[in-house]
């Protein structure tokens, strides 16, 4: 029974709890056991709140037994990057500076998940203040990759990627400012969605960059991610930057994929930039992806994309300017309470002229317009790698503020940064394993607010492949 619980997807679990086939308490007890069993190896949790989750699970079971409707995620244990505020509770943001910070509000996304019946199992490890694509953390210890403990799970949503990959929880929220959902998703072999800027409320989310922050789900399957995104997306009066467009119907798009596959969708294959300098295994995997999607009925065509090298650097400058504004007081008063890499990357922002920062933001619209007129002129979705590499060894990327740091950061986030600057939705989907058995991911990038299209294509791909069904070697054994 327990092994079966760990192997179920989020949707299977939710649906079986809803029809009384499974009890939320049994599912939650199993998840707590796995979280505790994996902690010494993976270090995924910053805080584990098992008792609270069990209490909520009992309530779900009672309501279901009495015939009440409990929501699409009722009784499903989730855990989230430790930067989503919950009123009256500590949210560490992966930092020493905020290790005792008690939030004065509950984030809209947590409130919406709770209203949908989801259970909260705890706060997950992350890069300090969500800065860093390798998930390293000098304060809480590095989270490790369930596919190889010597390797990074990717970051900054490191615990989210590792906990979902290891089958500890059925889904997790992460944040993504330049790749922080998509990079751990690809390195841990799970699905991750970075929504369109403004699609999901930022209210109660630790800020890193007002202009680029987004939050979204990491799960094992596209359908699971779709269900979570359908719950958390949509306008929020508490976040005036959130879009007033109707929430997407991403799970319905998965149903469409089951009927139509990828038929009717045109996929653009960028002829430059994204496919440069890939690890050979990643390049081979992307070729296979193209064949699979073509067989699923999609049309593929090469597309020109604008140069992204300058965009990447301008994004970094604008992000740093916003982050440095948020952190300036602590940089002056508590510089030694930051990890060296994090402090250095935030400090970049102190040296940006205000004019340069405003230019970077002012140009976003025209660059997006160019992009839509060229890259998306004749296609619905772009197919790229999520990262040019599989997960590197922690020892090779835990380089502090050394001169090699910017190169490594730029390299691993090469495919994700420009998408964040453009505010576009993107999804990372597992697409194979390297010769060393490490997962790789493809990135699907859509036009603004086209999350449902991404889900249709991503689900069609998962219907044709089985990469997402493989469990990593360091997933905890069940009780």
């Amino acid at each position: 029974m327990s092994d079966a619980l760990a192997s179920l997807t989020l949707c299977e679990t939710a649906d079986r709890i809803a029809n009384g086939e499974l009890s939320a308490v049994a599912v939650t007890e199993s998840a707590i056991f796995r979280a505790q069993a994996a902690q010494s190896d993976l270090n995924t949790f910053i805080s584990l709140e098992g008792e609270r989750a069990l209490e909520a699970a009992r309530s779900v079971d009672v309501r279901i037994a009495s015939g009440q409707s409990c929501g699409p995620l009722a009784g499903v244990p989730l855990a989230h990057k430790d930067m989503f505020y919950r009123e009256g509770e500590v949210t560490t943001c992966g930092s020493k500076i905020r290790k005792d910070f008690v939030a004065d509000r509950t984030s809209t996304v947590l409130a919406r998940l709770e209203a949908a019946g989801a259970l909260y199992l705890g706060g997950l490890n992350m890069s300090e203040f969500a800065v860093g694509p390798f998930g390293t953390n000098v304060h809480f210890g590095n989270c490790r990759n369930p596919w190889d403990l010597a390797r990074t799970p990717g970051g900054s949503s490191s615990g989210s990627g590792a906990a979902v990959s290891a089958r500890i929880v059925y889904g997790a929220l992460g944040s993504d400012t330049g790749g922080s959902i998509r990079i751990p998703a690809t390195m841990c072999g799970v699905v991750g969605i970075k929504p369109t800027q403004g699609r999901v409320s930022r209210y109660g989310l630790m800020p890193l960059s007002y202009s680029f922050d987004t939050s979204g789900p990491l799960t094992r399957t596209v359908r699971d991610a779709a269900r979570i995104l359908d719950v958390i997306a949509g306008h929020d009066p508490n976040d005036p930057t959130s879009s007033r467009r109707p929430a997407p119907r991403c799970e319905a798009a998965c149903d469409e994929a089951a009927r139509a596959g990828g038929r009717g969708l045109t996929i653009g294959i960028p002829t430059s930039y994204f496919y440069d300098d890939l690890e050979p295994d990643v390049a081979r995997a992307l070729e296979e992806v193209q064949k699979t999607l073509r067989e699923a009925g999609a049309t593929l065509r090469p597309v020109e994309v604008p140069n992204h090298d300058e965009i990447n650097l301008v994004w970094a400058a604008a992000l740093a300017a916003e982050a440095a504004t948020i952190h300036r007081r602590w940089l002056r008063e508590r510089p030694d309470d930051y990890g060296p890499m994090v402090r250095r990357r935030i400090e970049f922002g102190l040296y940006q002229p205000a004019t340069r920062y405003i230019e970077a933001l002012s140009l976003r619209d025209s660059i997006l317009a160019d992009y839509c007129a060229t890259a998306f002129a004749d296609c619905d979705v772009l197919l790229t790698p999520s990262s040019p590499m599989a997960a590197p060894e922690l020892s090779s990327v835990d380089v502090g503020d050394s001169e090699d740091m910017p190169r490594l950061v730029l390299l691993v986030s090469r495919a994700t940064r420009p998408v964040s600057y453009l505010g576009l939705p993107a999804m990372s989907v597992p697409c194979g394993f390297t010769g060393a058995g490490l997962p790789m991911g493809m990135q699907l990038v859509g036009r603004p607010f086209a999350e449902a299209t991404l889900c249709q294509l991503g689900h069609a791909y998962q219907l044709a492949t089985r990469w997402h069904e493989t469990s990593p070697p360091h997933a905890p054994a069940d009780e």
């Binding site: 369109t196 800027q197 403004g198 202009s211 930057t241 879009s243 467009r245 997407p248 119907r249 319905a252 798009a253 469409e256 090298d309 300058e310 965009i311 990447n312 650097l313 301008v314 970094a316 400058a317 300036r328 940089l331 002056r332 510089p335 030694d336 250095r344 400090e347 970049f348 102190l350 040296y351 940006q352 340069r356 405003i358 230019e359 970077a360 933001l361 002012s362 140009l363 976003r364 619209d365 025209s366 997006l368 317009a369 839509c372 998306f376 619905d380 503020d401 001169e403 910017p406 505010g423 036009r447 603004p448 607010f449 086209a450 999350e451 449902a452 299209t453 249709q456």
Partner: protein
């Protein structure tokens, strides 16, 4: 052409931000900042008189296609 130097960055930290950079290699920091500055300068030629940051939110809506 002038470039960002360690001394320049140190002066900014002291004058604009009123703090002493804590034992860092400021020349290395300047080396990291220079490419950002160059990229910003290269793109700045594309800025037109009427552009402003808030255009972006409207642009996202304008470039969306009706999707399921």
């Amino acid at each position: 052409m002038s470039r960002i130097t360690g001394a320049f960055a140190t002066a900014i930290a002291r004058v604009w931000h009123r703090f002493e950079p804590p034992g860092q290699d400021m020349e290395a920091l300047a080396e990291m900042l220079a490419p950002m500055d160059d990229a910003g300068e290269a793109l700045s030629s594309k800025l037109h008189f009427d552009m402003e940051p808030s255009d972006f939110a409207l642009g996202l809506e304008a470039h969306a296609k009706d999707t399921p």
